[in-house]
């Protein structure tokens, strides 16, 4: 891991990011951790102690040249890999279209998954369809894996008449029961301990279900992160708890979120097997998540994962990262681009080529444009139509109480 940077220790220590605007971002070249450094313990007999090296190191499968190796290589077939690449490309092209919509006033707000596309997609692909998804802001891509209709996603972001949450939530706060995908919550981190509760219910009912949840390096400061680890440690339900360390929580660097140890190591203190994984390596993510699911499904309890990545874009459409970090930091960071890395791997193995790649990008672009136009048919933020105002009053309670009914009549809409 990179050295923690701090200000003078008098009177107290202040964590600092390694670089600020105007600095030359320099992460010292490539990752020193390589595929094959770490063994793959037997998931069905692994203890927290067996993962000490995995919590400090970095599980990788793809090297810097796109070659896969080591015990963690999931040996996926070409069809699965190409499917993963397609989902990631779809997410990026989708995000780019949505941010354009936001810029032209057709959405109130947007958050991209830029640079972190592999996370939700590889990890969701490693799960079974009955598994529960408790996402943070940058995992909407899981819905592509579960087959959510893109028009429906755009309608939610607009908050138009076809938005399944009826214009009640900000964009990107997707909710999708069919995909077992629960809404993100802006007071961050709340989903993490809820996920443990979901997994305890699965265990109680004896259902073959695992629950996965993600939160950010910054959010791991919240109580909910620590509640989740402690309950998961105590009750050992089938849950996969991921800290996505993308190094930036809006303007706050991960050096302010931990006193020095890796995020993964925190899990060891809770006696939970804990693994730090290259978050831009599709294969490593898939493999580690599958390993964690095997443990959960076998009744062996939680796995704690630190997904090490980089937030390549702004926090949201309201944010301007050039105010607090060098603009080219992402390019200097050794983790690279997850889409490029998988593409390079596929091309090296003669499963893919530039021609097919360009054709796929064009196909997705067309699909996104078609979906965007179809969604706008149901209304856009600038000009409507919107869900009727009556939706303010419904589903607050199971039935509308008299005082809410009176207010609805007072509004007269």
């Amino acid at each position: 891991m990179t050295e923690r940077v701090t200000a003078t220790t008098t009177p107290y220590t202040i964590g600092r990011p390694p670089f600020r605007p105007g600095d030359e971002a320099d992460f010292g070249g490539k990752f020193k951790e390589q595929p094959g450094d770490l063994n793959r313990p037997d998931p069905l007999s692994c203890s927290a102690q067996d993962t000490v090296d995995h919590a400090v190191g970095l599980v990788r499968v793809l090297d810097d040249n796109g070659i896969a190796s080591g015990e963690w290589d999931p040996n996926l077939d070409a069809e699965t890999l190409i499917q993963g690449l397609e989902y990631m490309m779809r997410l990026r092209i989708f995000d780019d279209r949505m941010i354009k919509m936001q810029r032209t006033g057709k959405l109130s707000f947007y958050m991209r998954s830029f640079g972190e596309e592999a996370i939700a997609i590889a990890q969701t692909m490693a799960l079974e369809t009955q598994d529960w998804i408790f996402p943070s802001y940058r995992q909407p891509g899981a819905q592509f894996v579960r087959g959510r209709d893109m028009v429906s996603m755009i309608c939610h972001c607009i908050g138009n008449t076809e938005d399944n949450v009826k214009g009640r939530q900000m964009p990107v706060h997707y909710t999708w029961k069919e995909g077992r995908f629960i809404s993100i919550s802006s007071p961050v981190g709340t989903q993490f301990s809820q996920a443990v509760g979901v997994a305890m219910a699965s265990a109680y009912k004896g259902d073959d279900e695992v629950c996965i949840s993600w939160l950010g390096d910054g959010t791991s400061a919240q109580g909910d992160y620590h509640y989740a680890l402690n309950f998961a440690s105590t009750f050992k339900p089938p849950v996969i708890l991921n800290v996505v360390n993308n190094q930036w929580a809006i303007s706050t660097h991960a050096n302010l979120a931990t006193g020095g140890r890796t995020f993964a190591e925190r899990g060891l203190a809770y006696d939970i097997p804990s693994i730090r994984v290259d978050g831009n390596d599709f294969l490593a993510l898939y493999s580690v998540t599958k390993w964690a699911r095997d443990r959960g499904a076998a009744g062996l309890g939680a796995t704690h994962i630190e997904v090490y990545t980089y937030r390549a874009g702004a926090h949201s459409s309201s944010d301007d990262p050039s105010a607090y970090r060098p603009n080219n930091e992402f390019e200097c960071w050794p983790g690279g681009d997850p889409i490029q890395r998988l593409k390079e791997h596929l091309i090296k193995n003669e499963m893919w080529d530039e021609e097919r790649d360009a054709a796929l990008a064009q196909k997705i672009d067309d699909e996104v444009m078609t979906s965007y136009k179809a969604a706008c048919e149901f209304g856009d933020l600038a000009s409507g139509p919107y869900p009727p105002a009556s939706t303010i009053f419904t589903e607050v309670y199971e039935t509308v109480p008299w005082h809410v009914q009176e207010q609805r009549e007072e509004l007269g809409k």
Binding site: F109, G167, R168, T219, Q222, D319, L381
Partner: protein, 337 residues
């Protein structure tokens, strides 16, 4: 010296003056240090006063509240930012059970003078979790002072008073009004420039806590509001054509009894406006207290115009927030009795 300031600049100026005046003041919160806050209220302060006095905290409101209390107990005077009032609830236990009660619980031996600044209220398409106005959750907690500014001038003066107050203060900033007053029309939003309340002294000054502001004098009806709704009420009063007295409460606990009671004894009518939901909102407290003190002077029922008893919506927020139309209708109705 006076300067033209929007609310963000005025708050920033209050903090800057305090940091210069009192070495025990520290400022912290999410993104408030290097970046200067997501709304830029603390812009430039870290650079001027150093990383140990103005700093970014981990993302943990419960932690921020508890750390602030500890610092307050030990002689500092922290001013912590909760990035959105909607995010204050992880801190609720520390604020309600600890910070609010420490003076009383310790027989007066310990106090924690501190201020929590937090942007509140709707009108920015923020949905459930960037729009709420949770003042009533704190007015119901003895031991806390609760302040809600509405203009650049009172933002600076009230924040200064809050920081200098030896009791803990929850200081709400109407984020809709950071860059301009809001009169209820989302398609026509002016800036603060040339507004009389944007003329703000550059140096130290105080708008005393516990004093309301009479925005407009009138004889026919008293309208009470705070935060963004003060400006929406100004518009509604114009639209209604009724000669209203508009009171900006400014401090909710303890509220300015004399200004409110004297006004209602004069007008005999009262409309209370807030954006938070109606049930158990602070309007209920005002209404009950006014009725107890002014019953024989009232010529019409006291009316509340508030947000609905529902979560705050995203797309339909203009149907949720009290509009000039709804407020004007309520004002006119008081004249029918």
């Amino acid at each position: 010296m006076m300067a033209d300031m929007n609310m963000i600049k005025a708050l920033n100026s209050a903090l800057e003056v305090q940091l210069e005046k009192d070495p025990n003041i520290v400022i912290f919160g999410e993104d408030v240090g290097f970046f200067g806050g997501v709304f830029r209220v603390t812009d430039g302060l870290q650079k001027k006063f150093g990383e140990h006095r103005v700093f970014d905290s981990p993302l943990a409101e419960g932690g921020i509240a508890a750390i602030a209390m500890g610092m307050g107990l030990n002689g500092l005077r922290p001013v912590a930012e909760i990035q959105f009032a909607d995010y204050i609830f992880p801190a609720y236990d520390q604020i309600v059970n600890e910070i609010a009660k420490v003076r009383h619980r310790s027989g007066g031996e310990f106090t924690a003078p501190l201020t929590f600044r937090t942007p509140a209220g709707g009108g920015i398409k923020g949905g459930h979790h960037h729009s709420q106005s949770p003042e009533a959750q704190f007015t119901h907690t003895p031991g806390l002072k609760v302040v809600y500014c509405s203009t650049p001038y009172n933002a600076k003066g009230l924040l200064t008073a809050a920081i200098e107050c030896n009791d803990p203060v929850i200081f709400f900033e109407p984020k809709r009004c950071y860059r301009g007053p809001f009169y209820g029309d989302p398609h026509n939003v002016p800036t603060w420039s040339n507004h009389p309340d944007a003329e703000v002294p550059e140096g130290h000054f105080v708008v005393p806590l516990e004093e309301a502001r009479v925005v407009r004098e009138g004889e026919a009806c008293t309208v009470i509001a705070w935060g963004t709704m003060v400006h929406v009420c100004e518009q509604a009063i114009k639209d209604s054509g009724v000669d209203c007295e508009l009171i900006d409460l400014q401090t909710l606990v303890p509220w300015d009894r004399d200004t409110v009671v004297n006004s209602i004894k004069k007008t005999g009518r009262c409309v209370i406006v807030h954006e938070a939901p109606k049930t158990s909102g602070f309007g209920a407290e005002m209404s009950a207290s006014i009725q107890e003190r002014c019953f024989y002077h009232l010529e019409a029922p006291i009316t509340r115009v508030t947000g609905w008893d529902t979560p705050f919506p995203h797309t339909t927020e203009w149907d949720y927030l009290p509009s000039p139309e709804r407020i004007a209708a309520a004002i006119k109705k008081t004249q029918e009795e």
